[in-house]
Structures are given as structure tokens and as C-alpha cells.
Symmetry: C2
Subunit: 360 residues, 2 copies
DNA sequence: ATCGACTGCTTCAACGTTTCAGCGCCATGG
DNA sequence: CCATGGCGCTGAAACGTTGAAGCAGTCGAT
């Protein structure tokens, strides 16, 4: 395979690349015999480049295995193509929860679709939390961030939003009305499942096991629960026990509920893990689900399918949330977004067996 | 606060920054009144810069909020400071497994400690799998990669290793003896737990539920199991059922084992999820654990602590593996590694109640 | 024949960083 | 009194990319 190259340049272009770190525009340019700008323009399909040249360039680029250097591109463009996902607290805390997993799946899918890289940032530790991802963003390694923080009081979220960087929040942030966010209507979700318990199954003595009330989701789900009861027009009695979204706390809360409220007909836990904890407690007391006590959860991240009986729950489309958040972020970065301040995705009410037989 | 600046430059350095995209070396330089090279050298603590200048530079940098632009730095250095984690198959498949979560925790911790960014790469889909992360790496967005793939037959792993990029594999890759890897001795782990069943509890009729045998871990754990039985010197009977590491498959495998092998005394599942599936099957048949059938798992990623009885298992230090893999990768990238081809981390045998009462 | 427009490329500058050679200065030693 | 050299900094170059401006050549219209 003889490969004649116009040898007008002093740079020895004829070598066989050997341990060449990477193929640059210049390599492609000398291979084709044109300037590197022309190569750049050809590859971006600039109209001022002839079709024949474009073909030659594309062929040479493919043959040499040219891949644009992201640093050069980012430097020139003033911003990188990658986006960051910032997750609160330590990595430990984050990856433990299936919610973030599903979120990440969605985000990576969208990022992959746009050929963008994804950076993952967690707080190195709880105390000087800002450090890690602040540097990532300020160094312009990522052109925007998706923040998946649950706590109402997290000051980092405010800082990020204030930093004039493209940021998309996942969830609802009542104190940041102008921040761009993606979420579902948690209030409506909780109301829907509560309404199901009340109207479909005629249950009127219902306990709610909420999450920690400095989490907006916990607050919203509790609010939806009360709203639905109030709107039902039936004389409902309810009580509250607060958990921390863990199975263990759910079990403890159920214990508390069962000890304090007589004749509980249903327990609505603010997530499936707590519902599962409640299930264990009910079972240990010999109470049948749903015959003696109906049970409902929230999230539908897997566990609720596997239990016996399956837990009636609200399906949170976490993967779709991640996808959407990434899409919104890309639009924000590109500046091609018609003010998509708050995006609300639909949820699904998933009726399984734990809330009663599905008669009319 | 009057802030006098030597006004010899034509660039209006006195403005209040306003919507300035980012602070560069030049901004710090004009603030201090020296050249940007001097600022660069001062910030990197170059000995040829006076202490007083360094202090002034550091103060100005802090005041202005200077953060080095990663693209500029990467471009100049020829490589970026970030590393990539490449995970096999689709995101869906990956994030579902707690193993990867723990791995990621470790990797992020180490990356954070080195002020490096972490990129996450998954295959966009199973068919043209290479695309996403190959581009990430070839574009030099990351200077090296950690590959966490389990499949023996994954061709992408070979490609990555061949690509002359710094790559650290997690696990054992028998067909890639020269690749740098980090893992635990799965054979020894499986042998240890098997030995415990045989020698500590005197069990001799043992079934193994393995993972899919195109996963090296599954193969190794099975091998360790057989090795230990062979080495025990006792007349042991064993059988094998193959699962796919899922709870459901574990239950199915247990069903198969219980139907085919009479008087099974113990089941050793190749991971905890399958052990949990086996537990459900045993329970549904009214068999007590450990009185009627002892049970052991592998991984210890959480579930095995919560069950009743707790499952005896081998603790896989996934977080430590992630940390170590990242550390090795950084060394590899820096070129400061004394050939750490295969790193083997210790495991822990975790004795709980599922294998029998812990008498002598 | 001359002008203008168009075509297809090249040249040049810029993004922010690091690093190396070099420069003026002063102190020291011969 | 001049050579030497350390000190503290400056200037320039380079990394790979992009895009505006420029520049030959051609073609159609005047």
C-alpha cells in the first residue's frame, strides 16, 4: 500500500504513526493535502467546501481514526460538551438509593444520544460540601449540571442556581421558583393513591408513614394524602408517623401506628421501602394484607413488584425524569429553550394486591 | 475599598466583572500587575517566584474566584485530569446491580481525593456497543479508564486494552494476562465459605447455585467450591444449578436442586440475591434454615444482613476495589507505577446464622 | 474588456494554559 | 572594574480546534 503524500511540509508526515498519541486535524490535513481549517470545515459539512474534498476528508479521517480532541474543542468553543450530574452528600448515600440509579440511567441515555460525556460529582463529605462539584463546574469541565438533591435545606442547591450556570433541578424546590426543574406532581400522586384507598376500597381510617419532613417529596406526599382525604367528602380519620424512607424506619413507624390507632384500615407509606417495612410489621402481628390492613407505597423501584402481595404504589418515572432533565439541560446550554421553567412528568398509579381485591 | 491597579494595559481591568464568563489567568495577572506566566508559576508554587508575589497572587486568585480552565489545561498538558468509568451493556443493566454502585462509590472517593473529575460511560446499546466510550477516550476527555465488565466474552474489553490507553480492569480476565487489573481471589473466597460449611458444620451434601458460566466470577466461585470439597478429604456429594445472579433465578435453581438431590444439607449460592431466592423457596417448602438446609451466599451487598436468618456470605469489598482501581489508574496515567499488573484485595468471610449455629 | 460575484480553499487569530529561554538587575568574586 | 551568576520576572510558543477574513481563479453580466 503505497501512500503518496505531497511532501511540501517540513514536518515528517510520512511516518507510520507508531506511538502517536492521537490523530489531529493536521494529520488528516496532510494526508489529504489541504489545510487543517479545510478539514475542520469539511467535517462540519461547511457549504464552502466542495463535495469531492469532503469525501476525501471523511475517508482520510475514518482511515486514520480521527477523533476530535475534546479539550481543543472545548477551549475554542468556550464550553465543553459534557454535562455533570451532581448528587448530594457522599457517594455512599447516593448510590445506595435506587432512585438515583434510575435517574442516572435516564441521564446517561440522553447524554449518549447527544454524544455528550457525563461527569459524576458527589460531595466529598458532608461538611465542606461544595468543593468537588463547584470546581468541576467552575473549571468549565461541564457546561451545565443536573442537581438531584432532595433536602429542602441544602444550601448548595441555592449556590448552584445562583452561580449563573445552566442548572436543572430534579424535584420541586418551592424556595427557588425561578430555577429550572423537572419533576412529577407528588401531591397529585399521593392524592391519587389515597383517593384509590378511600373511594375504590371504601377505607376511611388511614395512617400515613411519611419521609423526613425536610424533604420536599415527603412534604408533598403528605400534603397530597391530606388533600385527598379532605376532598373525599367522607368522614376519614388519619394519623401520621414519620420515617426516613428506610425499610427499618417504615417498620418502626408501622409499629407506632398500630399501637396508637385502633382499627387502622390502611397504611400509606411515602415510599415502597417503608411500605415493605410496614408489611413485615403487619405480618409479624399476624395481620393479613389486604384483608386486615391495606397497604400502599410510592416509587415502584422494584421491591414493590417482588413482595407478596405486590404493593400498590405510584410509579415514579425516574428514568424518564433523568432523560428529561438532561434534555432540558442541553436545551438550556444551547440557548434553544423557550423558558421550560418547570417540567412536570406524568406518574402512574400502579394497582397491585396490597390495597385490596380489585373489585369495583 | 480602593483598589489601585497599575493601569498600563489597554484592557479595561477595572470593571466589576459583572457577567464575566470565567476568571482566567490574565484577570489575576492584571489584578496583581504581573504577567500571566508569573501567575501560573506562582499558583503552581514554582521556586523562581518570590514568596511575596505568590502571596499576592494567591490572594487575588481567591478574591476573584479563579479556577483553572480544564480545557486549557488539558490541551496544554496533552491529557485531561479526569478518568472514566466504563460499564458494560446498557445503563439499565449496570445501575441495577449493587456491585457497580459500591464500585462507583470507591472510584468517586478516590477521584475526589485527587481533584479529578469522573466520567461515566455506558454502552448506548448492546449491538454497536463500542461507540460511546471509545469516543470518550479517543477524544482524550479522560486520560484513562476503569472497566468493570463481567463477561468473559466481552470484545470491548479487549479493544480497550489493545488501544494503548491506560486501562484498569476490575475482576479477573484470564485471557488478558497482561492487562492491569484489580480484584479479589474469588476462588479462595468460594473455597473458604465451602470449607466453613464442610469443616465447621460437617455438611457433606452441598449444592452450588452458580451464576452464568460466561462470567469469570461465576466460574471462579464454582471452581473454589469444587476445590474446597476435593481438598476436604471427606466424602462430599455436590450438585450444580446455574442461575443468572437474580433472585428469581436463585429460587428456580433451588427448586431444581431440591427436586433432584435428596437430603441436601446446604446450598451455596454464588451471590446473595440468588441465596435470597433460595431462601424463599426453602421457606415455601417448610424447610428451616439452617436446621434443615444451611445456606450461604456471596457478595454481602446489603440484602444478606437484613434477612432472617442473616445469610453467611463472603464480603466483597467493592468500594475498596473501586478505590484501588482508581488509585492504580492514576498511577498508570502518571507513569509512576511499578508494574502493578494484578492487584488482589482481601475478602472477608462473614459468618451469620444461615449456615448453622456457630458452635465449634 | 472590465467588473463583480461566486467558489474553494488558505492564512491567521483566538480560546487558557504551561513552560522554556531570556532579560535586566544586583551582589559577589576575581 | 569587569565577568559571573542568581533572582524574579516577561515574552513567546505550543497544545487542537474553529471561523472570519482573505485570496486566487472562474464565470456571467455589462
Amino acid at each position: 500500500m503505497t501512500d503518496t503524500v505531497p511532501g511540501d511540509g517540513p514536518s515528517g508526515a510520512g511516518r507510520t504513526a507508531g506511538r502517536r498519541a492521537s490523530v489531529t486535524l493536521k494529520d488528516v490535513a496532510t494526508a489529504v493535502g489541504i489545510s487543517q481549517s479545510a478539514v475542520s470545515m469539511a467535517l462540519s459539512d461547511h457549504p464552502r467546501i466542495s463535495e469531492s474534498t469532503k469525501q476525501a476528508v471523511r475517508a482520510a479521517a475514518a482511515r486514520l481514526g480521527y477523533v476530535p480532541n475534546s479539550a481543543g474543542r472545548a477551549l475554542r468553543a468556550g464550553r465543553s460538551t459534557s454535562i455533570a450530574v451532581v448528587v448530594p452528600h457522599t457517594g455512599q448515600h447516593v448510590f445506595g438509593h435506587p432512585y438515583f440509579m434510575h435517574l442516572l440511567v435516564g441521564v446517561t441515555a440522553e447524554a449518549n444520544a447527544r454524544d455528550a460525556a457525563l461527569m459524576l460529582s458527589t460531595n466529598p463529605d458532608e461538611t465542606h460540601g461544595v468543593a468537588a462539584y463547584e470546581r468541576v463546574l467552575r473549571s468549565q469541565a461541564a457546561s451545565g449540571a443536573i442537581v438531584a438533591s432532595a433536602s429542602i435545606t441544602d444550601p448548595n442547591v441555592n449556590r448552584m442556581v445562583d452561580a449563573a450556570l445552566p442548572v436543572v433541578l430534579i424535584g420541586r424546590f418551592v424556595h427557588l421558583p425561578h430555577a429550572v426543574s423537572v419533576g412529577i406532581d407528588e401531591i397529585a400522586g399521593a392524592a391519587a393513591i389515597t383517593r384509590h384507598l378511600v373511594e375504590e376500597h371504601g377505607l376511611t381510617r388511614i395512617a400515613h408513614i411519611s419521609g423526613p419532613l425536610d424533604h420536599q417529596t415527603a412534604v408533598d406526599r403528605y400534603e397530597g394524602f391530606r388533600d385527598a382525604l379532605a376532598a373525599s367528602g367522607k368522614p376519614c380519620t388519619h394519623t401520621l408517623a414519620v420515617g426516613d424512607f428506610s425499610e427499618e424506619s417504615g417498620r418502626a413507624a408501622a409499629r407506632q401506628v398500630l399501637d396508637s390507632m385502633t382499627d387502622v384500615q390502611a397504611i400509606f407509606a411515602a415510599n415502597d421501602e417503608m411500605a415493605y417495612g410496614a408489611m413485615l410489621e403487619l405480618r409479624s402481628r399476624g395481620l393479613r394484607i389486604p384483608e386486615d390492613v391495606a397497604l400502599a407505597g410510592y416509587d415502584d423501584f422494584g421491591i414493590s413488584r417482588l413482595t407478596t402481595p405486590g404493593i400498590t404504589t405510584v410509579h415514579v418515572p425516574a428514568e424518564a425524569l433523568g432523560r428529561k432533565a438532561a434534555a432540558v439541560l442541553f436545551d438550556l446550554v444551547d440557548g434553544t429553550a423557550p423558558e421550560p421553567v418547570h417540567t412536570v412528568l406524568p406518574f402512574d398509579l400502579v394497582i397491585r394486591e396490597s390495597c385490596g381485591t380489585h373489585a369495583g
